[in-house]
């Protein structure tokens, strides 16, 4: 199989979905960020964002921590080591495919 086509076939489908790609890309540059920040940057509604985060959590790409900021609940998110590696591989494959 052509190397370029092979790269497309190897793209991580969990990350490749546009909503999840935005989340993973934003989390890649930071140590951790909260739900509100992701909502602000991606423009997604709560339900959609929650469902994408659940999918990423299931794949063990994102670690979710529920905490409080004062009396307000806060959901902190960070990429796991596996999530970080997967995103790096995804970028490499995408670059090769393009």
């Amino acid at each position: 199989m052509n190397h370029q086509i092979q790269s497309i076939a190897e793209l991580d489908r969990i990350i490749h979905e546009p909503g999840r790609l935005m989340i993973v890309t934003l989390l890649y540059s930071v140590d951790q960020a909260d739900f509100l920040y992701l909502q602000y940057e991606t423009g997604m509604n709560r339900g959609t964002l929650s469902s994408h985060i659940s999918r990423l959590e299931q794949a063990e790409y994102v670690k979710v921590e529920k905490t409080f900021r004062g009396k307000v609940p806060q959901t902190l998110l960070r990429l796991t080591r596996m999530g970080r590696k997967s995103f790096e591989r995804y970028r490499k494959n995408l670059r090769e495919a393009l």
Binding site: S29, V30, A33, L36, Y37
Partner: protein, 221 residues
């Protein structure tokens, strides 16, 4: 691919979304300007030349900056657009850049002390342009109107660099050694002008941010 690269830069630009980075830089610059001004325009025996005064002043200034920016972030920014903590590697780079800038400033100061202002003007301008480049990378890429601020910073550095030596020497004050009076005056004036611009620009950013970004109606999630 370009969209991914652009999205990767978003969290770094988020740091100054509320103008706090500029307000912090402006307040720090103004704090040091006031301290140096008091030192250079007071007698050698005054309290402003005491090492203890320096420690207390810098301690209060640092604490004020730390808690002041923290209060704005926790009371205004985080409830509106969310919380971000940055990776340690970015912090290390910030220290490396700060060290390089400090080294450049020290080198410029040394050059100025050895030569008259006219001959050292290029070093002064290069140092200023390095700072403006940092400003563009850190701030101006996030908001197009900040390019005007970057332009004003550059123009003010050029004007200061070509001010008459007598004007710069008079700004430096009487406590500055003769060889350092022109460089002292140039840096002091630049510190004041840039701090003022930074405070104004940061204040406008904070105003725009608060006006355009209402708090979400219910809890965070």
């Amino acid at each position: 691919m370009e969209q991914i690269e652009s999205l990767l830069k978003r969290p770094a630009l988020y740091c100054n979304i509320d103008g706090v980075w500029e307000l912090g830089m402006g307040a720090m610059g103004m704090g040091y300007f006031v301290l140096i001004w008091l030192q250079t325009h007071s007698s050698v025996n005054s309290i402003w030349h005491s090492m203890w005064t320096l420690f207390v002043y810098v301690g209060i200034l640092s604490a004020g900056l730390f808690f002041g920016t923290k209060v704005i972030k926790t009371r205004i920014t985080y409830p509106r657009t969310g919380f971000v903590s940055y990776r340690k590697s970015s912090a290390v780079w910030a220290f490396v850049i700060a060290f390089l800038v400090a080294a450049l400033v020290a080198l410029s100061a040394y050059t100025f002390s050895k030569r008259p202002m006219g001959a050292a003007t290029p070093a002064f301008l290069i140092g200023s342009l390095v700072f403006v480049s940092m400003y563009v990378y850190r701030v101006a890429l996030a908001a197009p109107w900040k390019w005007i601020v970057a332009f004003v910073l550059t123009i003010s550095a050029v004007i200061i660099a070509f001010l008459p030596s007598s004007v710069l020497a008079s700004i430096a004050g009487h406590s500055v050694p003769p060889g350092l009076d022109q460089i002292g005056g140039a840096f002091l004036l630049l510190c004041f002008v840039w701090s003022t611009i930074s405070l104004i620009s940061g204040g406008i950013s904070l105003y725009i941010y608060v006006r355009n970004t209402p708090k979400p109606s219910s809890e965070t999630e």
